[in-house]
């Protein structure tokens, strides 16, 4: 620990109490990674604040000491967005887990950032409401993390991402000021800038979320196809028919195998792909469209269609899908979860190319995806004990992203760029694009202490070199930005 950090640790222990500051190297190492384990960095310090005011105190102390800091919720992120800095402080929000207010009449709730996504739904379900964003990790991921990553989930096809369900945030800005960012009112939509900024523009300390009415009825079916192509055809046909399902999910044979091994979801044997289609809304509409969807699946060659008769059957259908990522651990010693987006219409071509990539390299790829909005989650399998296997997997994983960009898609749909995909940013954006993004970042964080090293590939212009900057800001110097 450097002397600077030692002094900061002492200061924070006074502010928060000794129990809230972790300095023991053995304990610190348990925070070295989030849900993405191929990037690891032991933080210099971990602090466990109890409330938003303490977070503001911590940030101010870090700024005064010139020490970088990173916020972390439940540590389930898949792009290394909460990867700590070895020379910095990790601010963990797992103790900020109070639901502060539930306002059913206005369909909103105010929660602390460490509140678990599913706990919001649990709290308001008795009133007939729920919190719509449903990432597969919803049983443990935090609302603060959802805000940082603008998390999606299986149902974002119809209901949108976290950004569509956050009404305002109390934020500690990178210089330690506490501000309220709101979607209401005139002026720039700073909330829109903040949500999805991957923790680089400040730390949310209170989140006001929108509550969604539980639909009158929900219908779910599982359709089994001989091949991925059949499933892809069905997806395009459903969307072309003007149906907007709450979710359309697809899994290929390898990911079905993993899910079966893990949770015994009992999907139809011999399926090359399964499609999960969920419709929700008013009874009459759902019934009409459900019949349409069934017919379209049959036309596309589904050899078996199962309709969930009740909530238990629906939960079983979803269980296989929601546990698919972690379940792959059953069929492979290690794997990379990829996250890319393509236009829905390119689905068959892209999947065929992924198959070729897999065959050429001998690296197995399991495919799980939000088929409705073209968000792919290829799972690239490898054996971490085998020399060179990780690099080969990494190669295939990167080639899949190139494929997405080639088809006019994106390098991430919902997992974020974090540290993992920073190097792919220049493949998708020009230098001018990246400079513009940096200017936004510098507007919030001129000192470059707030989650540095994420999103952007190289330490360019300002921002990436932590420490208090002296003199004129480089952007100002270059005439690219003004300070107000």
């Amino acid at each position: 620990m450097t002397e600077k950090v030692t002094r900061l640790a002492e200061r924070l222990a006074v502010l928060l109490g000794p129990d809230a500051v972790i300095t023991d190297p053995v304990r610190l190492r348990t925070y070295e990674c989030d849900g993405l384990t191929n990037h690891r960095a032991r933080p210099a310090l971990v602090v466990l604040p109890d409330d938003g005011a303490q977070i503001a105190q911590i940030v101010r102390a870090c700024v005064a000491a010139g020490v970088p800091y990173v916020a972390r919720g439940s540590g389930t992120g898949l792009s290394g967005g909460a990867l700590p800095r070895t020379d910095g402080v990790l601010i963990v929000t797992s103790r900020l887990r109070r639901i502060l207010e539930i306002d059913i009449a206005n369909q909103r709730a105010v929660v602390e950032p460490g509140v678990i996504n599913l706990d919001v739904t649990r709290a308001v379900r008795p009133h007939g409401y729920y919190f719509a964003p449903d990432p597969s990790s919803q049983q443990i991921c935090s609302v603060g993390g959802n805000v940082a990553e603008n998390s999606g989930g299986a149902h974002c096809l119809k209901y949108g991402f976290t950004a569509h369900h956050v009404l305002s945030c109390e934020v500690v800005t990178p210089d330690g000021e506490v501000v309220e960012l709101s979607a209401d009112g005139p002026g720039y939509d700073l909330l829109g800038v903040f949500v999805g900024a991957e923790g680089t523009l400040g730390i949310a300390t209170k989140v006001t979320v929108r509550l969604t009415r539980v639909p009158q009825t929900v219908q779910t079916l599982l359709a089994a196809f001989g091949s991925i192509e059949g499933g892809g055809t069905a997806v395009s046909a459903i969307i072309a028919a003007g149906v907007v399902p709450a979710a359309i999910e697809m899994m290929d044979a390898l990911s079905i195998e993993a899910a079966e091994a893990s949770v015994a979801c009992g999907y139809p044997p011999g399926a090359g792909a399964v499609l999960i289609v969920e419709l929700d809304g008013p009874q009459a509409e759902v019934e009409h469209q459900f019949a349409q969807v069934k017919a379209l699946c049959e036309e596309a060659g589904a050899f078996e269609i199962r309709v969930a008769a009740d909530d238990a059957a629906r939960a079983l259908i979803w269980k296989g899908r929601k546990s698919a990522f972690a379940a792959v651990g059953r069929i492979s010693p290690a794997y990379l979860v990829q996250d890319g987006v393509i236009p829905r219409t390119s689905l068959p071509r892209v999947l065929a190319r992924i198959d070729e990539l897999s065959a050429e390299s001998g690296v197995r790829v399991a495919n799980v995806f939000h088929a409705g909005d073209g968000n792919l989650h290829p799972l690239v399998l490898f054996d971490d004990a085998e020399p060179g296997a990780a690099e080969r997997a990494e190669g295939v994983s990167g080639a899949i992203l190139d494929l997405c960009i080639e088809h006019g898609g994106s390098i991430t749909g919902e997992h974020g760029v974090g540290v993992d995909k920073a190097r792919y940013m220049p493949r998708m954006f020009t230098a001018a694009d990246l400079d513009t993004m940096q200017m936004v970042r510098c507007g919030f964080d001129p000192a470059g202490l707030c989650n540095p090293g994420k999103i952007f590939p190289t330490p360019r212009l300002c921002g990436e070199v932590p420490g208090v900057r002296k003199g004129v800001h480089p952007l100002v110097e270059q005439g690219k930005a003004d300070l107000f």
Partner: protein, 429 residues
């Protein structure tokens, strides 16, 4: 049963760090710290496997684990945390010198609880102590708390003791005999909850079972096994196997005991003289509820108008996967309503001897559980493990809640014998 050193890297490698275990881990729920979650503890185990010494802080986090196995249920990757923690506990016992005071407490616990005769010797003085109302005095003054929080926890947990009639070696089936079953009487169950054992024997008999209760049986070794005292556990296991070798099925009414007997196969797998016998015994072991559902109801259920909250004992739900059977048995009683407790997967804090070794965390978990039990509005709490029953009853008492506690067997017994709700609940006059 713990993992061997060769298997360790693979078992550790199974964890993909997804975090799905976190919300079901009682200590993570309490403290929100990575090191006190299954994912964090596996990380610590990994550090130790890579050569980091068992530091004081590491051991503290392993000791804080309740061994409730909720994480095993929650894990989509199939991490065998149960085997990992048992392996780690055994390592801690052999490699890590504990302070004298702690060592003395552990030795005292393991010299007392696995021995029904020693527990019985304690019953007399304890009954006198309770009847002289000394308990109230001690709790009021906080005397024991100052001497040792663990002793104070032990004192608080002891249930009010009545007479403990001894069960005969054989209880004959009523009506036509459908099966012959062995019955484990346990240690704490036998001495502190004799009524549960009597009810179990009666229910089995009324359902057409000849019940064999071997006098030679002792402790099954659950407490030792789940605390890293492997050699001691193996000795208890061998004696239990011998005692029950003659019966086709062994019915167990304590969740912790049933789960450890189902683990004998793994525990003694490396012992050629016992491996097959252990495997056979594990295969024949059934929890009472599990067995009664397999057997199917025959005796007439008489109405019991009571609202009950059913508590999932960790060693029943997580370790044995027995969740639906007790609920089905309870729901099969006319007039009885079963309510679900919020956060059923989170441990009550009893966890074998955890509430004696970690009284503070256990107390907090007990309070949470008691709060959720009260939230159901039930009149009776049903729990199928003596540890849980003592733990939650103590927490309910602390909160001044008047909720009676019974074992599934006692509820069934009251229904089968038509005793009415008065047998389980004292209604206010």
């Amino acid at each position: 049963m713990s993992a061997s050193d060769e298997e360790l890297p693979k078992l550790l490698g199974d964890c993909v760090h997804c975090g799905f275990c976190l919300p079901t881990c009682p200590t993570y729920v309490l403290w929100g710290e990575e090191m006190d979650s299954p994912r964090g503890r596996i990380h610590l185990m990994q550090q130790h496997a890579e050569g980091a010494p068992l530091s004081e802080s590491m051991v503290g986090h392993f000791d804080a684990c309740l061994g409730c196995m909720a994480c095993v249920t929650a894990c989509p990757s199939g991490v065998q945390y149960d085997r990992l923690i048992e392996h780690t506990r055994a390592e801690v016992e052999s490699e890590h010198p504990r302070p004298l005071r702690e060592r003395a407490l552990r030795e005292a616990i393991f010299a007392l609880f696995p021995y029904p005769r020693r527990l019985r010797a304690l019953r007399g003085p304890l009954r006198l102590y309770q009847r002289a109302r000394l308990d109230e005095l001690v709790r009021r003054t906080g005397l024991l708390e100052r001497i040792s929080p663990s002793l104070a926890a032990m004192e608080r947990l002891a249930p009010p003791l009545g007479k403990a009639p001894r069960l005969p070696e054989r209880v004959a089936a009523r009506g036509g005999r459908r099966a012959t079953v062995g019955m484990l009487t346990g240690c704490v169950q036998r001495e502190f909850f004799p009524g549960v054992n009597a009810a179990t024997a009666r229910v089995l008999a009324l359902e057409g079972c000849d019940v064999v209760i071997p006098r030679t049986q002792g402790c099954c070794g659950a407490l030792s096994l789940h605390s890293g005292r492997e050699d001691e556990a193996k000795e208890f296991a061998r004696r239990t196997i011998e005692a029950f070798e003659a019966v086709d099925v062994i019915v167990v009414n304590a969740a912790g005991c049933g789960s450890s007997m189902k683990e004998y196969a793994a525990l003694l797998a490396g012992d050629p003289a016992w491996a097959r016998r252990a495997e056979a015994l594990s295969a024949r072991t059934r929890d009472l509820a599990e067995y009664l559902v397999e057997l199917g109801p025959r005796a007439e259920r008489r109405p019991l108008p009571v609202t009950v909250a059913y508590h999932d004992a960790c060693h029943l739900a997580h370790a044995q996967g027995v969740r639906s059977q007790p609920r089905a048995l309870l729901a099969g009683i006319p007039g009885l309503t079963v309510r679900e407790i919020t956060d059923p997967d989170v441990c009550c804090g009893s966890a074998g001897v955890y509430n004696l070794l970690q009284p503070e965390a256990a107390g907090e978990l007990g309070d949470r559980k008691a709060g959720h039990v009260r939230g159901t509005g039930a009149e009776l709490l049903v729990a199928a493990n003596p540890g849980c029953a003592m733990q939650i009853a103590t927490a309910l008492r602390r909160q001044g809640a008047e909720i009676a506690v019974a074992h599934t067997a006692e509820v069934l017994d009251a229904s089968l014998r038509g005793l009415g709700r008065g047998a389980l609940i004292t209604d206010a006059p």
